[in-house]
Subunit: 210 residues, 2 copies
DNA sequence: CAGATTACCTACTGGTCAGTAAGCTTGCAA
DNA sequence: TTGCAAGCTTACTGACCAGTAGGTAATCTG
């Protein structure tokens, strides 16, 4: 036995300190490139001290991923994940909020892509995450489509994936060019366009020919 | 000096062999995690042999990135990058083509995200790449908008970034769930929705309320 | 065919890193 | 108060890895 909740409040607090430092380090260097010593230094420990709390680097990584979600939810208050139109508005709001926390955005961007590499410990986490998110967006689309009297399950599936995709892709571009790409505004534009594309399909591109 | 074109045709060919192997290795393991020995093994050399051809791991990485572009262009034949409507159709076609080459897609996905980490050698390459691509898509939008008698430079800038973003984001989801996400179809849907969103802005999401 | 250059290899170096072992210190608990 | 466990530390290990040195064989060149 080992991994129970730490005994003292002080230790509990230290774990959270380590998690925050790890988000920063893994975000800025990647999870394979960032080292335990980097994390330890930020919280005034040696790397062995960090291992005392988390057992292994891999366990630390997984706790970091879980922690990000939990912190995310906490930051956006009690409002549990909304449905229908509210979900899309929530996603847009999230994009605007994210424009003020490059650290977390970078951690998420780097780690999610890293997760597709061979035997990456975070792979399952991100698979589950995208599956869940796509389901939620799909349900929101279904609710909205029902209200508008539209049905096209193919468009809904593509739209759900596309909305998550633009958000991720815009984050990457914003990280590379923060002064050029407006994360919130561009996300709002794209999400609106995609939602409209599902509810009121426009013409195919071919129709613009000549 | 040193870095000229290799003398013999055989060496020229070996370099290309190494580049192809490096795309695969860096794609499947990331550029920091993939080793020179991994690359060397695939082409029947030792890691010192690879260094003989490329000087350092960093130089190899940069040549890999340049090579991908060149191979991309070659594969899509002489048709140099088109403008206007043709560009969007070209991007959609590229998405369908990419659905048959997970290796290159993964390399690109992993390396582009990795590039935002501290002091990554590929950073400048990806900065330039996105700047160039956004400019091309922007010009295509301007051409199309002129033909349709629309002007909204803000929408164009957001649309250009968003189109590149969906493509990247869908690739990531497709790499995680190839059986669930349809790369070509979803990209086509999203690009069409965004182009329509620029040319014929739909209602704001608020208007769907209740 | 002689000399030089290329294309490697083997062997080594220096550095980094995760994880382990063993011991010291502090503080709660009986 | 004693004692044991939690929370560290220092020190070490083994593994991996990029880059270098120096040699050898093959090939090109004059």
């Amino acid at each position: 036995m080992a991994k129970e909740t730490p005994r003292t409040r002080a230790a509990q607090h230290k774990r959270i300190e380590i998690l925050k430092a790890a988000v920063e380090i893994f975000g800025s260097k990647g999870s394979t490139n960032g080292t335990l010593a980097d994390v330890a230094e930020q919280v005034g420990l040696t790397h062995a001290g960090v291992l005392h709390h988390f057992g292994s680097k891999q366990k630390l990584l997984l706790e970091v991923l879980a922690y990000r979600d939990q912190a995310d939810v906490a930051e956006l208050a009690e409002q549990h994940i909304p449905g229908g139109l509210e979900l899309f508005l929530h996603l847009i709001r999230t994009a605007y909020v994210n424009a003020h926390r490059p650290g977390i955005v970078q951690a998420y961007t780097v780690l999610s892509s890293e997760s597709v590499t061979e035997g990456h410990p975070g792979r399952e986490y991100f698979e589950d995450r995208y599956t869940t998110l796509r389901r939620e967006v799909t349900e929101a689309f279904e609710e909205l489509c029902a209200a508008e009297g539209v049905t096209d399950s193919g468009a809904i599936a593509h739209g759900a994936a596309a909305i998550l995709a633009v958000m991720d892709g815009l984050q990457l571009q914003w990280l590379l060019h923060p002064e050029v790409v407006e994360l919130g505004e561009a996300s709002e534009f794209a999400i609106t366009a995609i939602v409209n594309g599902v509810l009121h399909p426009g013409p195919a591109l071919e129709s613009y020919r000549k």
